[in-house]
């Protein structure tokens, strides 16, 4: 075998929906980028306000102070009747609502936010706010916690494993939503350069609020008999997230950003595969983490048939992988690459991607710098190059969308679905094109079909004609021409599968995006709805150090040392 540099994987292999739906968190995940930064920069945390009554109603403020500025989570706690508890966008009330404030809010700010944040989409915030979010309780686990702590004993760890969190967010809005500051307004700030750092900080602070709130409710009920939550149990708790179709179009609507995420991870994988040798310590670390993952897959409580099957396959894959790592020489001759090639021949997509993510762990020096390349800073990337000859455009199209040109788009099953937005609180939905009156409202989320239509339209044009002249006559293809041109410099920006087929699983798109956040415990609730866990195993703000800022993600099921 040559010891040359291993190239990044072919986008045609990586960008399939099933593989994207098998991704795992890694060193580049946005939560881990944030906790590493906050520990490195010695951020300090405080709780200037905790004004919540015995019924759990009131507000609290959690502040995070970095080297240059302070951000504050303003949390409003509510007393929500069960019949109003829904995780969908169509909900109008929640157990708790939040905003991340740019600075430290004063009493006037709090009064203004109290009149708006609990209303979520029906309220307005300002440029001082940089995210808006809400959360619902896990009803059973919440009741169990309050009951146990009020009675003076700790909750049952097995019950924690079943659910993983006391509250789950049902939306975390950033980037100018509801009047909040645009991402561009934070452009000069180092701490918000990597994607979704604002949202990840909001959730990190939300987790501290939820722990404090459950202890507060237990004290309100149990008085002096109540005890505080054991810190070891508290660390096992994450914040859940319940996500539907609103997230799926994101990957299609942001091809440059999506490319940058995937490309950074692929570059990291290629760098590690290219290493000529591996130390025994590095190999042992990866083996230990894979073994931990196998334990998680075996005890994962998901009830969904797809996930049960995947967990079983992953556990079997990891057993095979661990045995293989023990049996083979892992010291030299590009050991990670040899192992990866074996995995590609032997394991499922899920097993391959788990190895791909986990084998990056010993190599922070090689990998972590790529985190800075994951944002999309080029606002003009969407500009169309109208001077490009039609023949060049068609070549590009055939390169990225060749798979789509091979499909029969006249077949009903190829176009069975349509993505649309309901007038009911603007909820994104996926419907049956041939059974429901939705085609007229279809969103542009089927690049494969649109590429095939564009190829057909281009066929009659002289290859030397500039694209500008083609688009003047065919403005209906403008969206797709833009995508094709973007794909020339963003090879990982496009999902290479049919997003409107009868077989499409939107949860694959959700999982892909959530894995980049750093989410774990994927628990589909249907083919278009998934619950996950964030920050399970992580330190709380007051306990964050360089030693625990990164690998906490592997500490979910056992007590940390």
């Amino acid at each position: 075998m040559s010891a040359g540099a291993i190239p990044r994987r072919d986008p045609a292999r990586v960008m399939r929906l099933h593989r994207l739906g098998s991704l795992h968190q890694c060193r580049l995940s946005f939560m881990r980028q944030l906790t590493r930064r906050m520990a490195r920069e010695n951020w300090t945390f405080s709780r200037p306000v905790f004004n919540i009554d015995a019924h759990g109603v009131g507000h609290a403020v959690y502040s995070a102070k970095g080297p240059d500025r302070t951000y504050s989570l303003v949390a409003f706690a509510h007393d929500l009747p069960a019949d109003q508890r829904s995780d969908r966008v169509i909900a109008q009330a929640w157990d708790a609502t939040f905003t991340l404030f740019d600075g430290v809010p004063d009493a006037d700010d709090i009064a203004r936010l109290r009149a708006n944040v609990p209303l979520q989409e029906a309220g307005r915030v300002t440029a001082r706010e940089i995210s808006v979010s809400r959360a619902n309780r896990s009803v059973r686990l919440w009741a169990h916690f309050v009951e146990a702590l009020a009675a003076g004993h700790q909750p049952d760890p097995a019950r924690i494993d079943e659910v993983g969190y006391l509250m789950r967010t049902t939306a975390v809005y950033g980037s100018g939503k509801l009047g909040a500051a645009d991402r561009e307004a934070l452009a000069g700030r180092e701490e918000t350069q990597a994607p979704f750092q604002v949202e990840m900080l909001s959730v990190f602070l939300t987790r501290a609020f939820v722990r404090d709130l459950v202890e507060h409710m237990a004290r309100a009920r149990g008085g002096d008999a109540a005890v505080r939550l054991d810190p070891t149990l508290a660390r096992q708790l994450g914040i859940g997230n319940s996500t539907g179709l609103g997230m799926a179009p994101y990957l299609v609507n942001h091809p440059v950003l999506f490319n940058n995420w995937i490309m950074a991870r692929e570059e990291a994988i290629a760098r590690v595969r290219s290493l000529p040798t591996a130390t025994a310590k590095a190999v042992a670390q990866v083996r230990g983490l894979l073994a931990e993952m196998r334990a998680q897959a075996q005890t994962d409580p998901s009830q969904h048939p797809i996930q049960i099957e995947r967990n079983a396959a992953l556990a079997a894959d990891l057993s095979a992988l661990l045995a293989e790592m023990e049996a083979r020489d892992m010291a030299g001759d590009q050991p990670w690459n040899r192992l990866f090639l074996w995995a590609e021949q032997t394991l499922s997509d899920e097993g391959q991607e788990c190895l791909a993510s986990f084998m990056l762990e010993p190599y922070g020096d090689l990998v972590d710098g790529l985190g800075a390349c994951m944002a999309d800073a080029n606002a003009d990337a969407a500009r169309i190059d109208g001077a490009m000859p039609v023949a060049t455009l068609l070549d590009l199209l055939q390169g990225t969308y060749g798979w789509a040109l091979a499909l029969d788009w006249q077949a009903h099953e190829a176009q069975a679905r349509a993505w649309y937005v309901s007038e009911e609180k603007l909820e994104p939905r996926l419907g049956e094109r041939f059974d429901e009156p939705i085609a007229a409202y279809e969103q542009p989320l089927a690049p494969g079909r649109d590429a095939a239509a564009l190829a057909q339209a281009l066929a009659g044009w002289d290859g030397t004609t500039p694209v500008a002249a083609f688009l003047l006559k065919h403005p209906e293809h403008r969206h797709m021409v833009r995508r094709v041109q973007i794909s020339a410099h963003a090879p990982y920006g496009e999902i290479r599968d049919n997003t409107i087929s009868a077989e499409v699983l939107p949860i694959d798109m959700l999982r892909c995006k959530l894995s980049f956040f750093g989410a774990t415990r994927f628990d589909p609730r249907s083919d278009r709805w998934v619950r996950i866990c964030m920050y399970a195993g992580a330190p709380y703000p007051d306990g964050l150090t360089d030693d625990n800022a990164d690998l906490w993600v592997y500490d979910q099921t056992e007590a940390p040392a």
């Binding site: 440029a127 896990s138 003009d380 009911e424 909820e427 002249a469 021409v481 249907s526 709805w529």
Partner: protein, 208 residues
């Protein structure tokens, strides 16, 4: 109303789609309106007026006849279609001043000139009816009242640089915002019980 720029872009894109533009052109409308609002120009009012006038838009009739003939088959010409074509073709066009005939809401051409200016590292001036506007892509220097309905315009290259005048908030008249909202509403499918049940969620309860 004070709005974030993302809100303006999202609304303008949906409104243009609702008025009959293709998705690709609706994206241009979103970005164009956002840029104008960031420059403290009445982008929302201009788009609301344009969509109302051309509704429902016939893109073929309102577009330039060709890259050599900058007038629409059916006047007035749409500034979004003309602006997008100009920006697409900017490296192919002669350096000489270019006249566009009978352009509706010419303010909406400026974002496309700005984009073309950034692309070519140059600046463009737009003149009509006592108005002179120059942009180098980042800044905008404008004199006169640009609130014209239909005018002939002249575009010339320039080498000036403008101070960066872009802001981070948008101000749009509530009436114009409502107008855009009415167009945007056309892109939403009416809710049915079946779509509510099957289209987004799960049959499982969230009270678990």
């Amino acid at each position: 109303m004070i709005l974030s720029l993302n809100e303006v872009e999202a609304m303008a894109k949906k409104a243009a789609r609702g008025a009959g533009y293709s998705w690709g052109m609706a994206e241009e409308a979103g970005r164009a309106t956002r840029w104008l609002c960031a420059q403290s120009q009445p982008g929302g009012a201009a788009l609301a007026a344009l969509l109302t006038r051309l509704d429902p838009v016939d893109m073929d009739a309102r577009a330039p006849r060709s890259l050599d003939d900058w007038g629409a088959g059916d006047a007035p010409m749409c500034p979004l279609l003309a602006g997008a074509s100009f920006c697409d073709a900017v490296t192919l066009l002669p350096d000489a001043p270019l006249t566009m005939r009978a352009v509706a809401q010419p303010l909406l051409l400026l974002p496309f000139l700005a984009q073309a200016a950034r692309q070519g590292d140059t600046a463009f001036s737009l003149t009509f009816d006592g108005v002179m506007a120059t942009t180098d892509g980042q800044g905008l220097d404008i004199s006169g009242n640009p609130d014209a309905e239909t005018v002939d315009v002249v575009i010339t290259r320039s080498s000036v640089t403008c101070p960066d005048t872009s802001g981070t908030r948008a101000e749009i008249d509530a009436g114009d915002w409502d107008t855009l909202g009415r167009f945007a509403h056309r892109t939403y499918a009416p809710a049915t019980e079946a779509s509510r049940r099957l289209g987004a969620g799960t049959d499982l309860s969230d009270n678990d």
